[in-house]
């Protein structure tokens, strides 16, 4: 029982830090978009700015209020699920259609994780056992390729130039879920996964390699256990902790990667929304999406920390 309490306390503490992190992030986002660089209203209007239109937009943005009040009312809006209205185009609420986009992006993220995590772990195990320099180096090469290069290469090969077998852009129809366009999800998923696999697999390898040299693995081998059993029973569970950390890092990395991948494949998720909002200088949408992405990052990290604790007896017992 005391064990459970220790873990609960740990989770609560991590959550507390998470909230604190998000608060700091919110200050940075708000500062960078609304307070610091010249005047947000002027930035939004550009050449079309007239003194009257700037004044009107300043009013809409609440720029005339004290900075602290601007910040607190914005944060209250975010926390209570009312991030306000878009400043551009039809001036629809920021949340309009955002639900679909979040689902689309989560779908993509889940697919990419489902593909990348098992493959990476397998590759990591393989590279840890046999030194496999070629595989290891090609992982390194892959790691140096930015997603959009991968995406463009895949499009050239499978959609436009070599073979026309897969769609170049997503074609999810209005009001339809991402699962209605499975073919359109293939290239974005592969692109995201290829971006993540080198990192996860190399960390898994490092972690496993360390474990494989440990005394208990040596002992298990000396006992005459089959190598597969050594891996599964003794090595893998002990290498899982760091791997969880890397998976978390990569899910967070996906959260940033979707901005690029969704733009390249015109996938209607929050990443694509972010990129058009930035172009349109739609400040409330940018602020909201930046908070969502930061939230994903923080939550994944907490989840990974907790999972690590749970699979590592050494850490678990220390919490008691």
């Amino acid at each position: 029982m005391s064990n459970g309490w220790g873990v609960t306390k740990f989770i609560l503490r991590r959550l507390g830090f998470g909230v604190l992190t998000l608060l700091i992030v919110s200050l940075i986002i708000f500062g960078a978009t609304q307070l610091l660089p010249s005047d947000a209203a002027q930035t939004q209007l550009g050449r079309n700015a007239t003194p009257a239109s700037v004044a009107k937009l300043r009013e809409e943005l609440g720029l005339n209020k004290p900075k602290v009040e601007q910040y607190t009312s914005w944060l209250t809006g975010i926390v209570t699920g009312d991030p306000g209205k878009s400043l551009v185009g039809s001036k629809l609420p920021v949340l309009d259609g955002m639900g679909d986009r979040v689902i689309n992006s989560l779908f993509l993220l889940a697919l990419a994780s489902l593909v990348s995590v098992p493959i990476s772990l397998w590759l990591g195990a393989y590279m840890a056992r046999r030194k496999a320099p070629i595989l290891s180096n090609s992982m390194l090469a892959l790691a140096s390729m930015p997603e959009f290069v991968l995406g463009v290469v895949l499009v050239i090969v499978f959609s436009t130039r070599l073979w026309k077998v897969l769609p170049a852009v997503s074609a999810i129809d209005i009001g339809k879920g991402p699962w209605t366009d499975p073919k359109g999800a293939i290239l974005p998923t592969i692109t995201l996964a290829l971006g993540a696999i080198p990192y996860i697999s190399r960390t898994a390898r490092a972690s496993l390699a360390e474990v494989l040299q440990s005394d208990y693995v040596e002992m298990a081998r000396l006992k005459g256990l089959h190598e597969r059993q050594v891996m599964r029973r003794h090595a893998f569970p002990n290498a899982l902790g760091p791997v969880f950390q890397v998976i978390a890092l990569n899910v967070a990395y996906f959260a940033a990667g979707v901005i690029i991948v969704e733009t390249v494949f015109n996938f209607p998720g929050i990443g694509g929304a972010m990129s058009t909002a930035v172009k349109a200088r739609d400040i409330p949408t940018i602020q909201f999406l930046a908070m969502v992405l930061a939230g994903v990052y923080v939550v994944t990290n907490i989840a990974a920390d907790v999972a690590t604790i749970l699979v590592t007896p050494r850490l678990r017992t220390r919490l008691q």
């Binding site: 660089p37 436009t160 026309k164 690029i260 172009k279």
Partner: protein
């Protein structure tokens, strides 16, 4: 394949792990890239509203039915799925739909599907009735016009267009709170009390002053006729009623809209497609990929860097048409050293225009002669001698003016593709004449801020409009919204000439006046106009009706709401 600017922008993103950092990075570099590939159309990094603004006021463009219409007889509409045209465009969160207003280029394309003005421009850029819903517009005097509607033109809901709708449409444009684009040109010359219904299909318009080119105003695509009580799209597709070839049935902002054939369309036999799907892209390269993967049939406004890729692929083509917009370097004629016309002349002689077209527009443009309104029938930029780079003459003029070692700052915003490249190239060219030009690129927010239109030497961008409307928009320091060069200088008769031209109803006599005005601008004006940009669109070769000719809107005026486009039968 991948434009240089996108490369660095995305690489920077790829390197950032934390999502929040990525967001900040996007915001930070969103405006820093540029490059010729973006000039041809809307700068992807510029706020979408800006380039489009310039385009909007441009008014409609020349198209005649005879030339634009595909020769094929419309085939019987297919059962079920039907014939669908899929068009890609840069669009996003700022999409709107309004029969009389646009913010970005995607909005023009959608507006074109559903709404039409009273008159339209011919290929010679002369007002005519071909694509308009007026049968006749008679000038009773230079300030008094009678508009008669074509017989039997119906809105998409089946109601006849009446004088009441025309009056409502004009009143809506005149409403200052609605802030519609067409309205800014109309409000100075018309009041609501000037509108009166003669009978169900006739309206009388009494202007506040003589406006001899009022018919040109009626050709502007934003001067469209909407039904009485019409309002901008705000979620209900059923309210989007117009006379155009298509009517809106589905719209998700930032993603896609579906437009279905208007069963009551007045232009017999048109349109050919049963449906038009307009698909938003956040990235122009993705749109081109979609074209080459046959996921869309046409893409408006492609990056210049993609032209060769598309033309080099079997089954695809590029529509490369003159007319787009223009970029300019602006000299304030009432500020030192530009108070001296010799210095202004010297600056214009420093420019290597061919190099500008090559390096700023990647070759997709044409050399200009420091005069605007190239599509206007009264344009004389192609009649007066083409100004060439002449460093010796420039040096001599500067020496005469006592400004041989001139040092001057030249400003450009970082959010409008082409302008930073233009000033940097100009600074290079100026070195040869001993002039030190400091090319200063400012963040857009600062550039367009308080100092905009006040700087001695700056830059700007415009869409193409006719001569007199362009004068009204930028060349009258007392009344224009964007008079960056503070024209005309003291002692000039330019403004009086402008008013005389507006009041002159005789075309030949008016041309005498506008010729004089253009000569004055050519000889002593404050604008350096090195080039006109081309419009670039990519399309699948089976798409017919994409006619390459000078035009102010992409895709040959979007095929007049896509009614002039069809697939080759085969």
């Amino acid at each position: 394949m991948v434009p240089e600017g996108a490369f660095s922008r995305r690489r920077m993103l790829a390197g950032t792990g934390a999502a929040a950092v990525a967001a900040a990075a996007l915001a930070a570099c969103g405006s820093s890239s540029g490059g010729a590939e973006e000039v041809s159309g809307e700068a992807t990094t510029a706020p979408a509203a800006e380039p489009a603004t310039a385009v909007t006021e441009a008014g409609a463009a020349p198209v005649t039915e005879a030339e634009a219409a595909p020769d094929t007889e419309p085939a019987a509409p297919a059962e079920g799925g039907g014939k669908i045209l899929r068009v890609g465009t840069l669009g996003g969160a700022n999409d709107i739909l309004d029969g009389q207003h646009i913010v970005a280029k995607a909005d023009i394309m959608r507006q074109q599907t559903g709404w039409e003005p009273l008159m339209s421009f011919s290929p010679e850029y002369v007002p005519e009735y071909t694509h308009g819903i007026a049968k006749d517009v008679t000038a009773n005097a230079a300030d008094d016009y009678t508009i008669t509607l074509k017989d039997g033109v119906k809105f998409s809901d089946g109601n006849l267009v009446t004088a009441d709708d025309v009056i409502y449409s004009m009143e809506r444009l005149l409403d200052p709170d609605a802030a519609l684009f067409g309205g800014s040109a109309l409000r100075p010359i018309l009041e609501k009390t000037g509108l009166s219904k003669v009978d169900d299909s006739t309206v009388n318009v009494k202007l506040k002053q003589a406006v001899s080119n009022f018919k040109e105003a009626l050709c502007a695509y934003t001067f469209a006729i909407v039904p009485k009580g019409y309002e901008r799209y705000s979620g209900d597709v059923k309210n989007q009623i117009g006379t155009g070839p298509y009517m809106l049935t589905e719209f998700e902002v930032g993603k896609k809209s579906v437009h279905v054939k208007n069963p009551n369309y007045w232009d017999a036999g048109k349109p050919w497609f049963d449906e038009v799907h307009i698909i938003d892209f956040a990235d122009a390269d993705a749109a081109v990929n979609a074209l080459l993967a046959d996921q869309v049939d046409a893409v408006a406004d492609i990056p210049a860097a993609q032209v060769e890729t598309i033309e080099g692929t079997d089954g695809y083509a590029v529509l490369n048409s003159a007319g787009g917009g223009w970029l300019t370097m602006v000299m304030a004629v009432d500020q030192e050293p530009f108070t001296d016309p010799k210095v202004r002349q010297a600056m214009r002689l420093i420019v290597d225009r061919d190099a500008m077209v090559e390096q700023v527009l990647a070759g997709y443009g044409s050399v200009a002669n420091d005069l605007y309104a190239p599509l206007d029938a009264a344009y004389i930029g192609d009649e007066v001698p083409q100004r060439q780079q002449d460093i010796e003459a420039a040096k001599a003029l500067l020496a005469e003016a006592g400004k041989s070692d001139l040092v001057i700052d030249l400003f450009a915003p970082d959010d409008t593709a082409g302008l930073p490249e233009m000033i940097q190239l100009f600074a290079e060219q100026a070195k040869e004449a001993g002039v030190t030009v400091n090319a200063v690129v400012l963040p857009g927010s600062e550039y367009w801020g308080d100092e905009y239109l006040k700087r001695t030497f700056a830059t700007d961008y415009w869409g193409t409009r006719n001569f007199l409307p362009q004068v009204a928009a930028g060349s009258l320091v007392a009344s224009s919204p964007y008079p960056g060069d503070h024209w005309p200088p003291a002692g000039s008769t330019f403004e009086a000439d402008y008013n005389a031209a507006l009041a002159e109803t005789d075309d030949a006599k008016r041309k005498v006046i506008t010729d004089k005005m253009q000569k004055e601008l050519y000889e002593t004006g404050g604008l350096i106009i090195p080039f006109f940009q081309n419009g670039l669109d990519g399309y699948n070769s089976r798409l017919q009706g994409m006619v390459a000719r000078p035009n102010t809107l992409n895709m040959d005026h979007y095929g007049r709401g896509f009614k002039n486009l069809s697939f080759a039968e085969g």
